[in-house]
Amino acid sequence: MHLQFITMNIGVIILVGLILTVVSFITIPLIPVRLKSLLAFTTVLIIAIATSILALKALSGIKTEELFYGGSIFGNIPVRIDALSSWFILIVNFTCVTGALYGIGYMKSYESQKANTSLHWISYIIFHLSMLSVCVLQNSLAFLIAWELMSISSLLLVIFEHSKSDTIKAGINYLVQMHIGVVLISVAFIWVYFSEGSFDFASIANFFSHHYPVWLFLIFFIGFGIKAGFIPLHTWLPHAHPAAPSHVSGVMSGVIVKMGIYGILRVVFYLNTELILIGKTILILSVLTAFYGILNASVHRDFKRMLAYCTIENIGIIGMGIGIGIIGKGINNQYMMLIGFTGALLHTLNHSLYKSLLFYSAGNIYQQTHTRDMEVLGGLIKKMPATGFLFLCGALAIGGLPPFNGFISEFLIYSGLIEGIKTQNVQFSTVMILFVAGLALVGGISILTFTKSFGTIFLGSPRTQLHEEPKEVSLLMRVPMYLILLVILAIGIFPNIVFNPALTISSNLCGATTISENLLTISPVIAIIGRVSLGLILLIVLIYFVRSRVTVTKASVFQPTWGCSYVAPNTKMQYTSKSFSKSLAKLFSFILKEKKNYKEIEKNTIFPTQRVFISHYDEFFEDNFITRINNRIFSFMNYFMFIHNGRIQRYILYGFFFIVMIIAATLLNLI
């Protein structure tokens, strides 16, 4: 009886959701521009609440499943909400709701573009729905349709400012790369279908149980990895994220990339053989991804691009968790397996929180200054104190520093790696200790990256005179950010509210019925970390309180910064972000290639005129691989240029030839 109630529930919710969506599609273009975003937000909120209830139910152990009959082509379409789906549904919902709420304020400056705004919000709703569908649909064909809808709606969101050529370029780049991913995923699904005769996801498990799994897994991994942004499949990210409006970048970086992770995790849990090989490969690739991502983030001056590279870094860290988990499963070490997967799940959640916070702060800055170049900014914390504070918190959280949430998941991944060092094999120990060192180095570079970004954008004095004086953004835009900050702190101080569910999810998915004693000790440890973090906050408050009490009686004066006796300093003399990270970039110059464009002053020039110096860092993979391959393809395609000659008569002739060929082939029984 109880079960029936739930199955009814899911059908009802889908129906209500669809009706609501259709209604909002019709009404959004008709209502005044101010109300469009409000209506979209309400729709997203209602859908989010409804699906979150289902997800929470699934988390508490009630598995929700219903079959829909999809005609002769689809067969049965199972809609399953299991533990993994519900975890991702909750993440998607939270980020989409904050994104829509933030978007209300952010889109105010675009109110003149009515049609564009309507399209934007309709795409946003489709985007949210398609992501939810991706999480629950377990029929390959239906899944692919949802996946495709997700890619296309997010493309429409990215190219909101389509009058800019850069944006269109980034959009097309995104579209093409996503479709390479779709092709691979489709190939993988078709392979499974021809081998097992079913579109149900459960048949993937059957396939893995009596075939050699590595090749199919590789195809899945590349397909989903393009979405997630593992190197060398990451090249769309640094283009698409900066081009999109900030609430969209926040949602994309927060959750759409995570759909790739969802896909990988879904397939990983069906694996049963060759685990060590796959785990090691993922682990190595992830460390390289994290390192490459953060290294690029440290040198870029466009702050949204910096954040995009930082997403790549975090995907690497999540991947490390997955890799540790798979290896743990492979060597039958339950502690390592569960801690790896739990770490990956938690980091997925944590990253979606602080990355959306950071992207929204970036949106605040962009809205007020109309630039993404941090070298022209400076001293913004005086004009926008709330934004500055929120960015600072986001920066601390993403650096994995206590008392914020990032530390919890990084701690778990470190613990998993250290457990890996202790396993029997020497080769294992050596590899794992190098990964520990790698993760530590990545953490260090991320501190450099974010001190640089925060310092250059918010501190010091303004480097250039901006057209308009920036001021703090509206309360409407700040509310979702405070909401995220609250969740971040809650996870930092009471980590068990998310750790325990995540642990349950990963043990359910791995089929671990009993949890070993070793693992039961980790939850108290996590609780201690929370308490210690709280203690740290209190200690800081105490010391600051003492300091304020002592200094209040003393005279304090404000004077210009010490300029080494130089009396005419100007704001251009401040340290730039480029010079801040220059010494690091020089150390890793084999990856970070700097391109300079300038003319030397000739020897006999007496009065040099004004000249230009331009330098930028190349994207290693794009320049060395993607562009080269592209160029090859282009030059090969040149041989067929005679076909594409622009004469209408010829094109009609092609059609005629084609028809003749078809008829001839039919007559000769060739087809």
Binding site: I447, V550, Q574
Partner: protein, 302 residues
């Protein structure tokens, strides 16, 4: 509790001993051992000058820096006595909480908008990030050796038996000494006595700090030295020692550490800036040697 008290006591003397060693070696009369403390005390009583360009970040940073060091000290054990805070994997928290303090010091240096401070901040960020892997490899190797992951458990089960293990102990002490020197911006990475802003690392970051805040930062540095001294002392303490053995050993190690720093500073010049990264990264390879030694001890490789 004991370790906290001892570290605080050691911190009172530490810089004084370094300065005294240096003055004896260079044949000067030099200031007394308590001079640095007197300086800090005077700073605590002074008013402050703030930069016009600075914001609230500049004002809270020293407090956070100091709190982060105190928090890290709470985790240091002493022989059989565990630190006030002790849990599995506490060395990860130790490293990250110190990084929190460093984050704020770097950011507060950038808050002044001075080109010198920015330069120092950039160098400090680079050097400390390069030193990070060495610490993690070191601690993970000991985790492998002992099978535990908290400072207390590692140090209380660590016992030296074979020749290789003595070598490991010596190397570990060496790595920790160098890490302490880097973290406290001493020779040969940084020269605390230089008067040229362009060649400074840590000193230039705190050029604009004054009064109570500067006092906090300077005392924080003393505490940090004593903290690393305490960590090194733990290599020579075993839980079987009674307190009347372990406390003299602790003090002895701290004293020796301070004198070694003094001697190093008297006879060495600061490295060229572009040699520093290589030097710091060398630490990582030394910690890999420790890891190799651990594998040998455990008989994993013949």
């Amino acid at each position: 509790m004991l370790s906290l008290l001892l570290i605080i006591i050691a911190s009172l003397f530490f810089t004084g001993i370094i300065i005294r060693t240096k003055s004896i070696l260079s044949g000067r009369k030099g200031p007394g051992i308590f001079q640095p403390l007197k300086d800090i005390w005077r700073l605590f009583k002074k008013g402050a000058v703030y930069s016009n360009t600075s914001s609230f970040v500049f004002q809270i940073a020293p407090s956070i820096y100091f709190a982060s060091i105190l928090m890290a000290i709470l985790m240091i054990p002493l022989g059989g006595h565990q630190g006030i805070i002790s849990f599995k994997g506490d060395f990860i928290f130790f490293a990250y909480v110190l990084a929190l303090g460093k984050f704020f010091m770097i950011v507060s240096a950038l808050d002044t908008g001075s080109s010198f401070s920015g330069m120092g901040a950039s160098r400090e960020a680079l050097y400390s990030l390069l030193a990070e892997p060495a610490f993690f490899i070191l601690m993970s190797s000991f985790a492998l050796l002992t099978g535990y992951t908290s400072f207390h458990e590692i140090f209380s089960t660590l016992h030296f038996g074979t020749y290789i293990s003595y070598a490991i102990g010596a190397l570990a002490a060496f790595v920790l000494v160098i890490i302490a020197l880097i973290e406290n911006s001493r020779m040969p990475i940084d020269d605390p006595k230089t008067h040229l802003e362009l060649t400074m690392v840590h000193e230039v970051m705190i050029l604009d700090n004054s009064g109570f805040d500067l006092g906090l930062i300077l005392y924080g540095t003393n505490l940090k030295f004593a903290m690393y001294g305490g960590l090194i002392a733990n290599f020579f303490l075993t839980p079987s020692y009674e307190w009347y053995f372990s406390i003299p050993i602790f003090i002895g190690v701290q004293l020796l550490f301070a004198v070694i720093v003094g001697i190093l500073e008297s006879f060495m010049a600061r490295f060229r800036m572009n040699h520093n990264p290589q030097y710091i990264f060398m630490l990582t390879s030394i910690s890999l040697l420790i890891f190799l030694g651990v594998l040998l001890v455990l008989g994993k490789i013949a």
